[in-house]
């Protein structure tokens, strides 16, 4: 049996600002993970990652992160990715106030 593919999103940090961004279905980079394209097929996910890797003048270090569908769009499954959607917990800086 082929191993189950867990859904993913493509994420990276923006070259200029350095903040976390996610790849949307129409090929934009969004600071709001809920707007990201949820990739539930492995071959398609690899293609989207290749697209991201071809934009070194826009983003740094793109990778596939686990995600699951939520009411408002894709949601993180791991706490590290959750922090990336919010910002640090010791100050109200970052996306928790910027989005």
């Amino acid at each position: 049996m082929p191993r189950q593919f867990t859904p993913k999103v493509v994420t990276a940090n923006r070259l200029l600002e350095g903040d976390a961004v996610w790849l949307t279905e129409d090929g934009r980079w969004t600071p709001d993970m809920r707007e990201a394209e949820l990739l539930d097929e492995e071959a398609h996910a690899e293609l989207r990652l290749l697209l991201a890797q071809s934009q070194p003048d826009v983003v740094v270090g793109p990778y596939l992160a686990d995600a699951r569908p939520g009411a408002e769009g894709p949601e993180p499954t791991h706490f590290r990715e959750t922090f990336r959607t919010r910002g640090p917990s010791n100050y109200t800086h970052g996306k928790q106030v910027e989005l």
């Binding site: 940090n13 070259l15 200029l16 600002e17 350095g18 903040d19 976390a20 070194p56 003048d57 740094v60 270090g61 499954t77 791991h78 706490f79 590290r80 922090f83 990336r84 910002g87 640090p88 917990s89 010791n90 100050y91 800086h93 970052g94 996306k95």
Partner: protein, 560 residues
């Protein structure tokens, strides 16, 4: 204090200009990230979870008030109004935009500071006892040696691509406040039977995933042999250090795998060559540097104002008892300013606090400041008669917390709130422990206790050498905190032992509370510190309070 000479200035300026051009070429797309990354790391620029991070070196932790004001300016103008002082006597800015970094580096260069060699497999910022030049118990000021090492190692052509990063720390006192035993090279200034000053050298200490205590490679190295000997150590390591496995590449593994004697033989073989190459310029240079660290002109004044405040004001007295240390000059004190008010992020200072500290250093402290590896700010030379005024100012700005060396004076690395390598958060754990003990009003009864927290195995928060160490891990997608006990970073250095299974984020603060309250019951008397009690009793009774269910189970089994 050391001031840049023309050579230093020209070199740092050239690097700023170079980096400005590199950033431009990265932004316009002519440099790829693969090409740019090593260049930005050479200039202290990391990419973390939410933004870039700029790490600025504070050589041997010493700053003038102008330099401190510039750190405040960077925080305010290009960051979010604060900076984070680290265990390696650096300051980190968590939010710079790429395009602004060259301007930040320029502002630093203008006051003789930089971010060079704060990253990469080079010799990093040389650290020293934060009480250097002030401590009553010091044989000699360690900073001239640290500055000599800084000049020798900066841009040293042979040592830009070592097998791994390389860290050196220097202490001038037998009581080690610089954690020299956890460094690649540790240096202790000593005096021999003939009254000559020399250096005891240690190698192969380090924390990270394989913590090790440094070993003495030479008991006494004379002044004229110091640089040649250090160069020989690094050269031997450069040849013998493993480049096949990043986790085995630090000098501690080289020394461990080859044995100290074999390693020393290799060093001595190199020493023949290096000794011949150094023609004495280093000794001349050292004398020039040392002249720049001449102590300020001490003031001779009565200390009545201090004595009166000490008698009359219990808040002042409590602060004086915990935050002052003995100074070598009559009538003076060393002031440790805690930037760890319970609930605050350990090591963070706002731009305003930095300016207040700069003003205080100018007005009352011979214009000097220090950053300690324990993430506090030191005013090394304050005349006692000025202390009541100084204390009042500190209070106005939330800087008068009387907790140096106590439970809430916690070291914490940035952890998963910022760091891309983290496996769990460390800052919130530190905040909660400090707040809880403030509530309990117990910390002065508990006495000296060092809690140190890292957000992953790399151990930037020194957890291995905490009396209580906390290591944040990712256990199946949940934050989990492992406790180590009995570590120490002073001259009696030891690596803490794992107490048992880890705790969840909800359980860790109550667990630490049980441990500390348990210690109060276990200690022989108020004079016996946590570490002493642990060393006397061993881990068993501490584990029993940490894991009461297991203890209850064991008791039931014993009774049956």
């Amino acid at each position: 204090m050391y001031h840049y000479n023309d050579f230093d200035r020209a070199f740092v300026q050239e690097r700023v200009d170079q980096f400005r051009a590199q950033v431009e070429r990265r932004i316009d797309g002519s440099l790829t990230e693969d090409e740019f990354k090593p260049l930005r790391l050479m200039n202290g620029l990391y990419l973390q979870l939410h933004a870039y991070m700029l790490r600025v070196a504070i050589p041997y932790g010493t700053l003038s008030s102008d330099q401190m004001r510039t750190l405040a300016l960077l925080a305010e103008k290009w960051d979010r109004g604060y900076g984070h002082f680290t265990t390696r006597q650096n300051i980190q800015y968590n939010w710079p935009a790429l395009k602004d970094v060259p301007d930040m580096l320029q502002a630093l260069a203008d006051v003789g500071m930089h971010a060079i060699q704060t990253s990469g497999n080079t010799i990093r910022n040389v650290t020293a006892d934060h009480f250097a030049g002030a401590a009553a118990d010091e044989v000699a000021d360690p900073r001239p040696v640290a500055e000599l090492l800084r000049q020798w190692s900066t841009d040293h052509p042979e040592f830009q691509f070592l097998p791994r990063k390389f860290k050196i720390a220097v202490t001038g006192a037998a009581h080690d406040r610089a954690v020299i035993q956890a460094h690649d090279i540790g240096i202790q200034i000593v005096e021999n039977a003939h009254g000559e000053i020399g250096y005891k050298l240690l190698v192969g200490g380090g924390l990270g995933r394989t913590p090790m205590i440094g070993k003495v490679i030479e008991e006494f190295v004379a002044q004229e042999d110091l640089l040649p000997y250090c160069e020989a150590i690094v050269a031997a390591y450069n040849l013998m250090g493993r480049r096949d496995n990043k986790y085995k590449a630090r000098i501690k593994i080289t020394v461990f795998e080859n044995g100290l004697d074999t390693f020393r033989d290799a060093v001595l073989a190199q020493f023949e060559r290096t000794k011949a190459a150094f023609t004495g310029v280093d000794v001349k240079l050292f004398e020039e540097i040392r002249a720049q660290f001449a102590p300020p002109a001490w003031r001779n004044a009565p200390t009545d104002a201090y004595d009166a405040a000490y008698r009359a004001d219990p808040v002042f007295r409590s602060w004086a008892d915990t935050n002052l240390a003995a100074h070598r000059a009559e009538g003076y004190a060393i002031v440790s300013v805690s930037i760890k008010k319970p609930g605050q992020t350990p090591g963070d200072a706002t731009a305003e606090q930095m300016r207040v500290l700069a003003d205080l250093a100018r007005d009352f402290g011979h214009d000097e400041l220090r950053i300690s590896h324990e993430q506090n700010v030191i005013l090394p030379h304050v005349h006692k008669s000025d202390l009541p005024k100084l204390h009042a100012k500190l209070r106005e700005h939330g800087l008068a917390t009387a907790n140096i060396g106590l439970v809430s004076d916690i070291i914490a690395c940035p952890g998963m709130d910022y760091c891309a390598l983290a496996t769990a958060r460390s800052i919130p754990v530190a905040q909660q422990i400090a707040l809880r003990f403030e509530e309990l009003k117990l910390e002065h009864d508990v006495g000296p206790l060092k809690i140190k927290i890292s957000g992953c195995i790399n151990a930037c928060g020194h957890h291995h050498v905490g009396h209580i160490g906390i290591l944040g891990l990712d256990r199946a997608g949940v934050e989990n905190y492992q406790v180590t006990l009995g570590g120490s970073g002073d001259e009696t250095a030891s690596i803490g032992e794992r107490a048992g299974p880890g705790f969840s984020a909800d359980e860790i603060v109550p667990a630490i509370e049980r441990l500390v309250l348990g210690y109060l019951d276990l200690r022989a008397g108020p004079e016996e510190t946590f570490l002493q009690a642990y060393r006397r009793l061993g881990p068993a009774p501490f584990k029993a309070v940490l894991y009461p269910e297991q203890e209850a189970k064991r008791e039931r089994a014993d009774a049956a």
